[in-house]
Amino acid sequence: MTENSLAQPSSKKELFVAFTVLALQGFGGVLAVAQRVLCEQKRWLSRDQFVEILSLAQILPGPNVCNVALMIGDRFFGWRGAFAALAGMMAVPLVIVLFFTALYSQYALNPAVAGALRGMGAVSAGLIIGTGLKLVGALRANPMKTPICAALLVAAFAAVALLRWPLVWVILALGVGACALAWMRLKPRVAAVSRS
């Protein structure tokens, strides 16, 4: 997808509605839906831009998808857009989750309900993994070579998922190294551009 074929939301209201609809499809996490809707259906972002926004959203504190909503809203309509996108992401789901809380005590012990929740949890894990597989394609254009990208990806996974190291330290240690590597790889290209 080239950046030229991207579309734009026409108004803050469209942002609000789009993020509400998107959030309501996200059970056990909204990230998979966000990637599908924003990149593939609405085409407001390319896959590269999505990864870029997600990078920033993940290293900053706060819920990742809420940070993504804020940044996208802000890019199109400034802080009012950011607020519209975030409100869309949270308002209706908040009402629903409080409603479920009121119901929960009555149905928590029902085996079919507990089973359904377990099944939904299993699928939502799969949705995140599938989204990751899709975004791997965005690494092909990375200035770092493919084996280095693969090594960084595997190292991040091993440290967080298998060794359960604290995320802050993993991001700091791997991130600083990766950004330094990328910095060095970018150098010749930037120099060539400035000479021409």
């Binding site: 990078s55 989750v97 089973g115 799969g126």
Partner: protein, 175 residues
């Protein structure tokens, strides 16, 4: 009914936790447990665990588990204390950082950040999927997880259809 002083203390505590919540609010859940269950006695252990389970089963961002905790502790005033507390600082910081980075997107340092972080971010996505899957005991649930991952990757099947199928096989007791 708890005192407004306690609510204010809760709000203040969540403001601090917000700035520590790298990777999402769930990463500071252990500290919420320390404060709300052990220290202030606002929630029972069962209520605390149910908050996370309810939010995961509901549509919308997972951070709403924080609102469920506030609601169980002190009704809508509790929701205001926990949810605004956890959102305000991180939201402000995210907006400022995004603007700073976007205005300087041609800088080599910003491009190096973008390129360097991309593989790590994708590795973290796989980690999230792995951890979500590993918290369910047993192994049958791995099958719907793998099937869902492959379908999301390779097809355009509607995501709600996949979640609905997961709920169905779960309700039937197959996973």
């Amino acid at each position: 009914m708890i005192l407004s002083g306690a609510l204010l203390a809760l709000f203040g505590h969540f403001l601090v936790l917000s700035l520590l919540s790298i990777g999402g609010a769930i990463t500071v859940a252990p500290d919420m447990h320390r404060v709300m269950v052990d220290q202030m006695g606002l929630l029972s252990d069962a209520q605390f665990n149910a908050s996370i389970a309810i939010a995961q089963a509901s549509p919308g961002p997972n951070v709403l588990f924080v609102a469920v905790m506030g609601y169980q502790a002190a009704g809508l005033a509790g929701v205001a204390a926990t949810l605004f507390g956890i959102m305000l600082p991180s939201t402000t910081l995210a907006l400022a950082a995004a603007r700073w980075g976007h205005a300087r997107r041609e800088w080599r340092a910003v491009q190096a950040f973008k390129a360097g972080m991309a593989p790590i971010v994708i590795g973290l996505l796989f980690s999230t999927g792995w951890i979500l899957s590993a918290q369910t005991p047993g192994w049958h649930h791995i099958i719907p997880t793998i099937v869902a991952a492959l379908l999301v990757w390779r097809t355009r099947v509607h995501l709600l259809l996949l979640v609905g199928a997961g709920a169905f096989v779960g309700a039937m007791g197959w996973v």
